[in-house]
């Protein structure tokens, strides 16, 4: 897949990233397969796909949070020009939290249940910004206020289980942005929340990106989230990017049957009543190895024998910054060999 170049150095560059899990006594599993994308300052990039497609693993790899053992990582990850893979552990630790921050899906399990929320924020402040005691507390109060938590002084001393889900996620965001990171990764930040809260949280994130110029990597399975937030979208299937395009292009002109399927399975308020939803049949467990052909073939309506003739090549739609990996895209007649 060709890499799109911005004039300025992107905040994050991921190039040909491959992640393989090896386990004694079992065949190695490739979770991420030559994924490439980049994010510029103030840009929001979406990584979309069903669970198990490798999007979270990609995020963890960027954060350097994958275990040392039983994992092989190939390709490169660069943060503002700094190569992250192979960076000394200590340096990586310094970057994490300060420059790269992450928001997790379930704030209840992602927050330490036995440490007050305030403490979980101030420990970051003291680690990366050298703030201690009262100064740190004051800053934490300010942060909590900024993410829209009422009565932040009191909340500081509360434990995660004492807060509502939305509050917890706001606290999580406050924590993530506390040290002014240049790259923020949000892993399904709204999945565990009520719909009304989802919108608020997304709004908050959007606001942060706009005011701070933070680069945001948005990981989600929810195209609705993508539609409201992302500048550019990468659709992942079975560890590979199957389609990548700017938001409007993707929604306006989806090519890959998987993307089409995802779009079709969104319930629409404005849709005609009586028209059934159109979920993608089968599950992500029905696979074909990418080396043999298109992994999506078993679930694809447009499957043809050609789909299984080796790894599908990347096709670039000219002029619209749109790439896909489909052998038999809609709108084209069946490819004649």
């Amino acid at each position: 897949m060709t890499v799109r170049r911005e004039p300025a150095t992107p905040v994050l560059t991921v190039e040909d990233l491959s992640i393989t899990f090896t386990q004694r006594g079992a065949a190695p599993t490739r979770a991420v397969d030559r994924v490439s994308f980049e994010i510029g300052a103030g840009e929001v990039v979406g990584l979309v796909g069903e669970s198990g497609c490798g999007k979270s693993v990609t995020a963890l790899a960027v954060m350097g949070l994958l275990a040392d053992r039983n994992v092989e990582i190939g390709g490169r990850i660069a943060y503002a020009g700094t190569e992250l893979l192979g960076l000394p552990r200590k340096r990586m630790r310094d970057l994490r939290g300060a420059d790269l921050a992450m928001i997790f899906q379930d704030p209840l399990s992602a927050l330490n249940p036995v440490v007050p929320v305030g403490r979980q924020i101030t420990e970051m402040l003291s680690r990366h910004r050298g703030l201690r005691g009262r100064d740190a507390d004051a800053e934490a109060v300010q942060l909590l206020g900024r993410v829209g938590i009422p009565d932040p002084e009191r909340r500081l001393k509360e434990y995660p289980h004492q807060m509502s889900g939305g509050m917890r996620q706001r606290a999580m965001i406050a924590m993530a942005v506390s040290c002014g990171p240049r790259l923020l990764i949000a892993d399904e930040p709204t999945t565990a929340l009520d719909v009304t809260i989802q919108a608020q949280v997304l709004e908050l994130l959007k606001d942060l990106v706009e005011t701070e110029g933070t680069a945001l990597l948005m990981i989600t399975h929810d195209l609705g989230v993508v539609a409201g937030l992302c500048d550019r979208v990468n659709v992942l299937y079975a560890g590979r990017v199957v389609e990548a395009a700017p938001r409007h292009e993707l929604f306006g002109n989806p090519v890959h049957p998987y993307t089409t399927g995802l779009l079709r399975s969104i319930p629409r308020m404005d849709g005609d009543r009586g028209v059934p939803l159109n979920p993608i049949r089968g599950s992500v467990n029905d696979l074909v190895a990418w080396a043999d052909g298109c992994a999506f073939a078993p679930r694809c309506d447009r499957y043809e024998l050609e789909c299984l003739a080796g790894t599908p090549a990347v096709t670039e739609l000219p002029g619209v910054d749109h790439e896909h990996r489909c052998v038999n895209p809609p709108g084209t007649p069946a490819v004649v060999r």
């Binding site: 949070l65 630790r93 970057l95 994490r96 939290g97 921050a101 997790f104 399990s109 249940p113 036995v114």
Partner: protein, 334 residues
């Protein structure tokens, strides 16, 4: 909080009441009787009958129980076959068991938690395998045999440590709390404190074997589970130092089940004391129960079991209360 404590303490009463009924029924159902232990070989049937009368063994059982309960209310557990008040004996001997159990638990915690933690961090490596293997063998070795072997090797053969008792026989000391080490330090009789410490090592090691194994494995499992928790990943994502992550985030959470286990281990510890103390003639309530069992000393057995059960329940109450401090999610009005 106060209300919670009071409620929990009140809950003790039916438990102890039930326990006393159970024990009482059990004790009266025992074969033989205390009479034989008190009489010489050629005592006549009349002698025996007379003794049974004296001991109240011929009264209706509910009369015996009522008398027992009335005394219990005054902390009077009756008299041993040797003519002393059970409560006096227990008061004299309990500190020995407390001291021993405390040191054993200390060994289990001080060795077990770091060991279990390191094993979890080095899963599958040599340290882990040997810690797990060692603790499994520890659990599978009969305590009395371990005690016996320790004693035979370190006390009898090598002569490094004393074989029995809490102090060298004939040592004079000042008694304040009944805890020899503590007393020795308070009164400045450091040689007594030292002597007591030396006498504690072998029995405490033997007694610690099972708690140590349990604490090690518990810590290992708990740390391993905690390491996989989302909040640890969060902590990592925050770039916190390894020390903060390990202590504040991993250990702090991993210790919660271990604390419960420690509370539950008190029971095992007190039961183990019966086996360990008798091997080392330690003279605590374990030795006392051992001898009472051998001589069918009803009052002594009942008093001791009641004491052990009470201690066990109270310790677990304390653990529960401690839990409310350690784990904010647990509230007292649960």
């Amino acid at each position: 909080m106060v209300r919670y404590v009071v409620t929990r303490l009140l809950q003790l009463i039916p438990t102890l009441f039930g326990l006393s009924v159970l024990l009482f029924i059990w004790v009266r159902a025992l074969p033989g009787g205390p009479d034989t232990a008190l009489l010489p070989e050629n005592a006549t049937a009349a002698d025996r009958e007379r003794l049974r009368q004296d001991l109240g063994l011929n009264d209706p059982i509910w009369v015996q129980y009522a008398a027992f309960l009335a005394r219990l209310a005054q902390l009077d557990f009756g008299h041993t076959l040797r003519g002393r008040a059970v409560s006096t004996e227990l008061a004299e001997r309990f500190p020995a068991t407390i001291e021993l159990a405390f040191v054993a638990m200390l060994i289990a915690v001080v060795v077990g938690i770091p060991l279990g933690y390191l094993a979890a961090r080095n899963r599958g490596r040599f340290l882990d395998v040997s810690a797990v293997g060692g603790s499994l063998i520890g659990i599978c070795t009969p305590v009395f045999f371990l005690a016996f072997i320790l004693k035979e090797i370190f006390a009898v053969r090598l002569g490094w440590l004393p074989s029995s008792s809490r102090l060298t026989p004939g040592t004079s000391y000042t008694d304040i709390t009944g805890l020899r080490v503590v007393d020795g330090i308070i009164t400045g009789e450091f040689h007594v404190a030292w002597d007591a410490v030396v006498h504690l090592i072998l029995p405490a090691l033997a007694l610690a074997s099972i708690p140590l194994a349990v604490v090690t494995r518990m810590t290992r499992a708990s740390v391993m589970e905690t390491l996989g928790e989302d909040f640890v990943r969060t902590a990592e994502s925050k770039g916190l130092t390894a020390r903060v992550i390990q202590f504040r985030h991993v250990l702090r959470n991993a210790m919660l089940p271990v604390v419960t286990a420690i509370g539950l281990l008190t029971g095992a510890l007190l039961a183990g004391a019966v086996l360990t103390e008798s091997v080392f003639a330690f003279g605590g309530i374990g030795s006392f129960l051992f001898q009472a069992t051998q001589s069918r000393d009803y009052a002594a057995i009942m008093g001791t079991v009641l004491l052990i059960a009470t201690v066990f329940v109270v310790v677990n109450l304390v653990v529960d209360l401690l839990y409310t401090v350690l784990d904010p999610r647990v509230t007292v009005d649960r």
